[in-house]
């Protein structure tokens, strides 16, 4: 961990000022991922701006029936907030499926959006990695890739052994998978004012610049995550498959929210996947296949095939294609019951 300076502003304006003072300054919330990455010599901020004392620590109701999750509220306080448990049980369940109680007590909602990939090569500073050191190569593609992506990468680049942009990293967050399914909106402020970014646009695919995880601009600060009114409190689930029963990252995970009419027909559907792509993975075509359909295994399998259409494996992770489809079917089965 390199030396850095540290400030602890109490106003958002001061935080934006502090972050603008040095080119390699970063915000720190819970620190659960940033300090980890600093210790393994992957992140090297020269200045840290502690956001925990900014007035972003509340969960408040929005006029449209939604809920505003302050950026510095912890994951634990969010998951166990009465309004979240009541209206967005999918989010509660998903947060509680991630990390450990200790980490959830530290990690903030804003910080969760910035979790970086768990790719073994990204995490090992002695290895090449196009995400960490653009242009250095991706040893995961022909190496050990059990936890890696099956969709959303540039397949042609991944077949090019000398590719300087190929990346098959996955986004590791559980919470973000639920936020994607709930169509949450990330509110940010920065040198150019405030803006709102839908979850679908917040994280990115690797494209030609895998070093960029998200669409945030330099100096911007997440102030809240807004949940729309529709929370799917009746028909929802989060299925997380991993190599042990708790405290492990997802091999594949599925967040599902459904609305159904009295006849058991699906009227609205959201399916988001974790562990399969560089960002939480959603496809409206897959969800459309469920609308107006009876809730049967055939319908579910069709949606699963659609969501993972074109998926490719790289050896160790090839099992994720079939496992992912089965997990989608299981999640939909659980959500309707």
């Amino acid at each position: 961990m390199n030396p850095f300076s540290y400030t602890r502003p109490e106003a958002v304006a001061d935080a934006l000022n502090d972050i603008g003072q040095q080119p390699n300054a970063k915000f720190i919330g819970g620190g659960t991922n940033l300090i980890d990455l600093m210790k393994v010599n992957v992140e090297h901020p020269t200045h840290l701006v502690d956001v925990n004392h900014l007035p972003l620590g509340d969960i408040t109701e929005l006029p449209d029936g939604g809920l505003r999750l302050g950026a510095s509220v912890t994951n634990a306080d969010t998951a166990w907030h009465p309004l979240v448990e009541e209206r967005y049980p999918l989010l509660s369940k998903t947060i509680l499926a991630g990390a450990s109680p200790q980490l959830r007590n530290m990690a903030t909602n804003g910080g969760n959006l910035f979790q970086r990939t768990r790719c073994y090569y990204f995490y090992d500073a002695q290895m090449s990695c196009n995400k960490r050191q653009p242009g250095s190569g991706c040893p995961a593609i022909n190496g050990y890739n059990r936890i890696h992506a099956i969709v959303g990468m540039d397949k042609a680049e991944c077949q090019n052994p000398n590719s300087k942009t190929a990346c098959i990293a996955t986004h590791p967050s559980d919470m973000c998978v639920a936020l994607a399914a709930l169509e949450a909106v990330v509110r940010v402020t920065g040198p150019n004012g405030d803006r709102s970014i839908p979850m679908a646009d917040f994280h990115r695919l690797p494209d030609t610049d895998p070093q960029r995880d998200n669409t945030l601009e330099p100096g911007e600060l997440v102030t809240s995550i807004d949940l729309p009114a529709k929370g799917f409190p009746k028909h929802f689930t989060y299925v997380k498959l991993r190599d042990r029963s708790s405290y492990a990252f997802a091999l594949v995970s599925v967040a599902v929210g459904l609305e159904m009419d009295d006849n058991g027909t699906i009227t609205e559907a959201r399916i988001a996947m974790g562990g399969v792509a560089h960002k939480p993975w959603r496809k409206s075509e897959a969800e459309q296949l469920l609308i107006g359909k009876p809730a049967t295994d055939e319908t579910f399998r069709a949606a699963a095939e659609s969501l993972l259409d074109g998926a490719v494996g790289f050896g160790h992770n090839t099992f994720k294609i079939e496992l992912g489809k089965r997990a989608i079917v299981r999640a939909l089965q659980e959500a309707i019951s």
Binding site: G143, Y144, R244, S245, Y247
Partner: protein, 745 residues
């Protein structure tokens, strides 16, 4: 006292945080060393640029092969008590890189924080050579292992008996298969650390080091530091009162010991070197193996042929061996047996004993094959094992000193409810969930070797006993206290047992499940000898009623020595010490195994493990819901700590069955999942309902106290029991461990 479930005597220290581990001895003017490791797997260091690191405030030194203090040259100087045949690794020896992540520099600074940062600034240039780290791609390079002194305790395969090949061809039923086990790392919770406290030399002498080390044998660390750095033994004191788990990783000194010692000598200042979790993957490990097994049986279930071959990885420096296949010729009666064990040398660090080394590797294969054969011959897996039971070790042509495995089968099956099992795979369900029941046998050695102990009865009537052994969580402190208290008839609170200090009488490294027997007998002997001294003192009293008493005429109970013939004739131990001129009474003794008696028997511990799994039929998520372990381990000194040992072993077995693997990327020659997030061991939620049974077993051959040891036996049979249960649940045989959900797709 012996046989009582008393709570750990070191419990209060451990639950309050007062128990101090190697990195926790804070001394004045301590400096901190952080290790820099090699980015390549094979080649040479051609340049190290340490200028930026040295420019940081508080950085004292960047120690490399170029500026380290003088090291002894001969391999012999680095031979620790568990060294296999070959040339032991020593850090910073020269410019050669033998394996990826090899330690190549130590950055020492005034603070840990600065040393950690400066370590990232050291730039290393390499001349890289092609490396080979893939066991499965190099099986054709396998060779017969070179043997060393450690093979006395880890025997290589015996010669074949009968004709296994012919018997296999003639068998009514045959099973065969290939099994791949991945490498595993010990990963004790406490990371390896050494605090080397420097003491300036007196005129004309060499400096002294007091070293707090994480080790399974303080004398073993002393051996390597004194020999490797050319210091007199008396100038090197190693202290290791608590060890945060080790599981074999502390049987050999790890490289931070020499690094910290070298840096302390060079800087003439105290140095602490703690490894990081990822550096816990830069040392010894359980080697990956590729095993082949073929069993033949008659239609009635009589085992007629056993062939078992294991090929394991080792380094180019040493032929690390473990006993993998021998068990297959011993556990059951079979007249035709052929066993083979070979090594493939790779560009890796030497493997190292890891809990039940070899045993859990080989028995996990034998016991899955036995399950397959039970299905072939149409017998219940438990009945099939009972049918092939033997009390005669055909390999060594001698009886077992005791082998109550039939009682393990019987009592374990009853506790588990085995009789309610329906044999057909996929025949048991709980709702939609597939339920499987499996079982396996386990076996491990019951060795005893020489050890020394000291006993001191103080003027306050309290007893202090010590031996330079270790307690890696096994309960040594507690059971030695019990043995001493029982032998001299004292309450537990009046006995203090100490360990882990080279100033104490010599004991061997703590491993192989031999400590309870080895040190336990030493403690008993020294207490008996002290008792004889006390009798002598008491006999010298004027008009002593003990004047004519022989040692067999007295007994020690209730803090008194009493005549056996008339217990009312008694003297308190405190009063006896008072006869010693105000001085404590002390005795040091050695316990030596009766090798003549022992050599006529095979001395093993046995177990039967029963497992219940639940498998999601679509997602293949496996949950172990119940484990029952029945163990025949001779005399149990403390049922409470004994149960913990067995439960811990079974959790290890569960881990090997389902979770653990160190995955090497052979393109870069490195273990890539080198952290606790990606190297999975069970968490609390993975805990099944667990039950432990100790069956009655008496054995006066293994050692005078009849102790067999418990460190490994809980683990040995568990992976196969779980694998067999998974087959019973799903109908799928998975031969490769760990059985992750993708292997069941």
């Amino acid at each position: 006292m012996i046989g009582q479930p008393i709570s750990r005597v070191d419990g209060p220290a451990k639950v309050t945080g007062k128990a101090k581990f190697a990195a926790e001895f804070n001394v004045p003017n301590l400096t901190y060393g952080v290790v820099v490791t090699s980015a390549i797997a094979k080649g040479r260091i051609v340049g190290i640029d340490d200028r930026e690191a040295l420019a940081q405030p508080g950085v004292r030194m960047v120690m490399t092969h170029k500026n380290r203090p003088k090291l002894a040259r001969l391999d012999l100087n680095y031979k620790d008590q568990d060294a296999p045949a070959g040339s032991p690794f020593r850090p910073l020896q020269d410019d050669k890189i033998f394996y990826s992540t090899q330690p190549i520099a130590l950055v020492v600074a005034d603070t840990f924080e600065m040393a950690r940062y400066a370590a990232t600034l050291v730039k290393v240039a390499y001349h890289e050579e092609a490396h080979e780290t893939d066991l499965q791609a190099n099986l054709s390079e396998a060779h017969n292992p070179a043997a060393g002194p450690v093979n006395l305790f880890k025997p290589l395969p015996p010669k074949p008996r009968g004709n296994a090949q012919q018997a296999y061809m003639e068998a009514d039923k045959r099973v065969s298969g290939e099994f791949v086990h991945q490498a595993e790392h010990h990963n004790p919770m406490e990371m390896f650390a050494t605090t080397a406290v420097y003491e300036a030399p007196k005129r004309g002498e060499k400096p002294r080091l007091t070293i707090y080390d994480k080790t399974q044998g303080a004398p073993n660390s002393q051996l390597v530091v004194a020999n490797g750095l050319n210091l007199p033994f008396k100038n090197v004191r190693v202290i290791s009162p608590f060890i945060g788990g080790a599981f074999g990783s502390g049987l050999r000194p790890q490289y931070q010991l020499l690094l910290a010692s070298m840096a302390a000598l060079e800087l003439k200042q105290s140095v602490r070197v703690s490894l990081t979790r990822d550096q816990m993957f830069t040392m010894g490990f359980r080697p990956a193996t590729v095993q082949k097994i073929a069993l033949g049986a008659q239609a009635d279930g009589t085992l007629s042929s056993v062939y078992h071959q294991a090929i394991a990885e080792t380094s180019h420096r040493e032929d690390y061996t473990e006993t993998v296949v021998n068990w297959s010729g011993e556990l059951y009666k079979c007249d035709n047996v052929a066993l083979d064990y070979q090594l493939v040398s790779l560009d890796v660090y030497s493997p190292q004993d890891m809990r039940a080394p070899g045993g859990v590797t080989g028995v996990s294969v034998l016991e899955v094959a036995m399950d397959e054969m039970a299905y072939e011959v149409g017998m219940d897996p438990l009945e099939f094992r009972i049918k092939n039971f033997t009390s005669w070790d055909q390999t060594h042509d001698r009886p077992y000193s005791s082998k109550e495995i039939l009682a393990c089968y019987r009592e374990g099956a009853e506790r588990f409810g085995w009789a309610r099992r329906t044999p057909e795979p996929r025949s048991m369900r709980d709702g939609n969930v597939l339920v499987g029941w499996g079982m396996a046998s386990g076996v491990w050695m019951a060795d005893q070797i020489p050890a020394r102990a000291e006993a001191v009865l103080g003027v306050n009537g309290k007893l202090r006993v010590s031996s330079a052994t270790a307690d890696i969580g096994t309960g040594t402190y507690t059971i030695m206290t019990q043995i001493a208290a029982e032998t001299l008839g004292l309450p537990i609170d009046d006995v203090l047992f100490r360990l882990g200090d080279t100033d104490m009488p010599l004991a061997p490294i703590q491993g192989g499940s031999w400590t309870a027997a080895t040190v336990g007998n030493a403690v008993r002997v020294v207490c008996e000898d002290l008792g004889k001294k006390l009798l002598k003192l008491a006999a010298q009293m004027p008009d002593s009623p003990f004047k004519k008493a022989k040692s067999t005429d007295v007994q020690f109970v209730d803090s008194h020595m009493r005549l056996v013939g008339d217990p009312s004739v008694a003297i308190s131990l405190r009063d006896i010490v008072a006869l010693n001129g105000g001085k404590a009474v002390r005795e040091t003794s050695t316990s030596i195994p009766n090798m003549l008696k022992q050599s006529r028997y095979t001395r093993y511990t046995h177990s039967a493990i029963f497992a219940e799994v639940r498998v999601d039929p679509d997602l293949n998520v496996v949950t172990v819901s119940r484990l029952v372990g029945a163990v025949a381990a001779g005399r149990i000194i403390n049922p409470k700590t004994a149960r913990s040992q067995i439960i811990g072993g079974m959790v290890w077995g569960l881990s090997k069955a389902l979770h653990e693997e160190s995955v090497r990327d052979n393109n870069v020659g490195r273990f890539m999942n080198h952290n606790y997030a990606e190297y999975h061991i069970p968490v609390c939620k993975d805990t099944p309902d667990m039950d432990v049974i100790f069956v009655e077993e008496h054995d006066d051959v293994v050692n005078p106290m009849g102790i067999k040891g418990l460190g490994e036996i809980g683990q040995v049979g568990t992976p196969a029991a779980i694998a067999n249960a998974i087959f019973h649940a799903t109908g799928k045989r998975v031969h490769d461990l760990p059985i992750t959900l993708d292997k069941l797709l």
